[in-house]
Assembly symmetry: C2
Homo-oligomer: 372 residues x 2
């Protein structure tokens, strides 16, 4: 771990970092911040979930030994990985190279990321005594590497940095299941059988999310995304009862900081209105739900992010091009749209395909009405 930013990046001034970024790019409001407010902009903003890492050859070249958590704890490397997709693709935002389990890892829960598997815990969360392994996070001590990474980034970036944290259900699911799950049987059982313990667990997960997000915004992140990726495995009533209050708490804390908030999950067709309700300027939509349907279900009160199927990025360009145009046409030039995939970039993705996607969206996308 490297607790302070390296001096040669000149980022040792820990205040006003984001205003430095802002001045660097001039007076115009970045397109992605305009979209979050549902205001027209010069172009349709684009970024890709999992744009940092995974599929990029320049990432593989510097990724190094050890788990992804080792790379995350190395500010120089984490910053470089964050910057790579911005340089290559010209995305309208950077997203911090980190992981949704970083805060619980930093809080000492005992979680790792096993290559080829995902987050794993030797001792999953099972009872009240496990709460002790989720102490409150003090980012100034526990996440110094995060601060150092952002300090480097703010000096380099001319687009907004998106900070992020995992949503309560998704993080809790890894803690309780002890590994990625398809059925979420253990976590759903704990949630419904012992709601008191569940709510205490989520309260700690939420507090840690607030702590890490606040630190990211303090360091200069201009937007945040709450990744409750697996919340869509719940039926709506369970979502409302067991998850939404905790997400709402995190998102309310972010509202106090004045940054636009993106709230994301997959398979959330039936939850979209509740996800919007929990508090967000922008709601993520996967490819299963057409944007007009999502807009209707959320009553037009939020901007939408999505919703190209990441699998389609692996199809030949002619097919992919038609898919991109379909997303744009579905959106019909509504200003409240951030172009993205419906889920993360697949590891086997050819970066050239994403280069062509962003070029196309930037070239033909409109934020003031349908393409002609």
């Amino acid at each position: 771990m490297n607790p302070s930013p390296s001096a040669d990046h000149g980022a040792d001034d820990s205040t006003g970092s984001s205003s430095e970024t802002r001045s660097k790019r001039g007076a115009a409001q970045p397109a992605i911040l305009a979209a979050a407010k549902q205001e027209p902009a010069s172009h349709v903003p684009v970024w890709f979930m999992r744009q940092a890492g995974r599929s990029l050859p320049e990432y593989k070249a510097i990724r190094g030994e050890g788990t992804i958590l080792n790379a995350i704890q190395d500010p120089e490397r984490a910053a470089e990985i964050t910057l790579q997709p911005v340089r290559r693709y010209g995305t309208d935002a950077a997203i911090l190279f980190s992981d949704i389990v970083t805060p619980v890892f930093a809080a000492g829960f005992g979680i790792d990321i096993t290559p080829g598997v995902g987050p794993t815990c030797e001792q999953p969360f099972a009872s009240r005594s496990d709460l002790e392994r989720l102490r409150p996070l003090d980012p100034s001590v526990d996440l110094t590497y995060q601060r150092s990474t952002i300090d480097i980034l703010i000096n380099e970036l001319d687009v907004p940095l998106i900070g992020f944290a995992g949503g309560p259900f998704t993080v809790a699911s890894y803690l309780v299941e002890g590994r990625p799950s398809r059925d979420f049987a253990k976590v759903k059982s704990l949630m419904t059988a012992d709601p008191e313990l569940w709510h205490e667990l989520c309260d700690r997960v939420a507090d840690n999310a607030i702590a890490t997000l606040t630190a990211q915004v303090d360091a200069g992140a201009e937007m945040i995304q709450l990744f409750d990726s697996w919340a869509g495995s719940l039926r709506p009533e369970h979502y409302r009862e067991y998850v939404k209050p905790h997400s709402a708490k995190v998102l309310a804390a972010m509202a106090d900081l004045g940054v636009p908030r993106i709230h994301f999950g997959i398979n959330t067709g039936e939850l979209l209105n509740d996800i919007a309700d929990a508090g967000a300027e922008v709601v993520g939509v996967d490819w299963r739900t057409p944007l007009p349907v999502a807009r209707e279900r959320t009553g037009g009160r939020v901007a939408l992010q999505g919703n190209l199927d990441p699998a389609m990025v692996l199809a030949p360009w002619e097919v992919l091009e038609a898919e991109v145009l379909r997303v744009l046409d579905d959106n019909a030039g509504h200003p409240g749209h951030i172009f993205n995939l419906g889920h993360g970039v697949l590891p086997q993705t050819d970066p050239e395909q994403l280069e062509r996607v962003i070029e196309l969206v930037h070239r033909v996308g409109r934020t003031d009405g349908p393409r002609s």
Copy 2:
């Protein structure tokens, strides 16, 4: 393989088998057939996807060595496995112990079921020449064990037997991906990049489904279910263009045979109306979509099957009981409801929990209005 039913089951009369079953149980229409017609019955019918095999100790006791395909090809054993859950739970239907890949396996494609993984192909479907590995199925030669199994069953059962086949997208996904997939990138790429080849592939898969289903109905199956389990990974337009015509063809052929048809997939919230459109008396709904929402989206023209979350069967009884009552209350006593899980029984399920579920549904469920 045992191509003929054993004489001591007395099922060597290969005609009129289902009328034998019908006479055995008396004049009343079975509740599950009434539900498919949206007609009130004496009780709410119940069965569980994956009720045969997997979690039952009596199944494990007779499962034997080899893969599941070996057990499927042994009529005595396959019939016994089919009967076990009917005896234990008193389900309102039996479902043939088989697998969605049985027809393509029998047609010689080169597919196996690897324990702990699922269907796997050493040489996945990749190009036109692979069509040759999907020859038309002749059930009287290729699926003699299926006939023999059903012959045994028809003699033993006093509830309807549900025949089944895999839906076009789901079967094709195994052939193209070569193993279970989370992203379906290969199959979606083939589908959209070479629609002509895709449609030829699906045409063969559909013809094989029709062949196996017709043989099952001829042997005595009184309902059928088309399992397009993974179709919900597609966006609606892709479903309509690439999958629905093939499902419609299979289901139209079954309409000609006069058996009620169930059409099932998970994550299909946005597809429910198209799935109903493809042709079915009953549409399966997973727990993500509340039954009233599903009923609205399908315009009330189909009965619904579902939609208890299989993960909830692992919760303590008090929780599970509330979940079961929630499903019944959501349905409000509509006669067009077959109680089921929203997906298959999980392997770690305690059979006693399912015993209690069916007892509760049979005791308190109503088919002529809400519970008082």
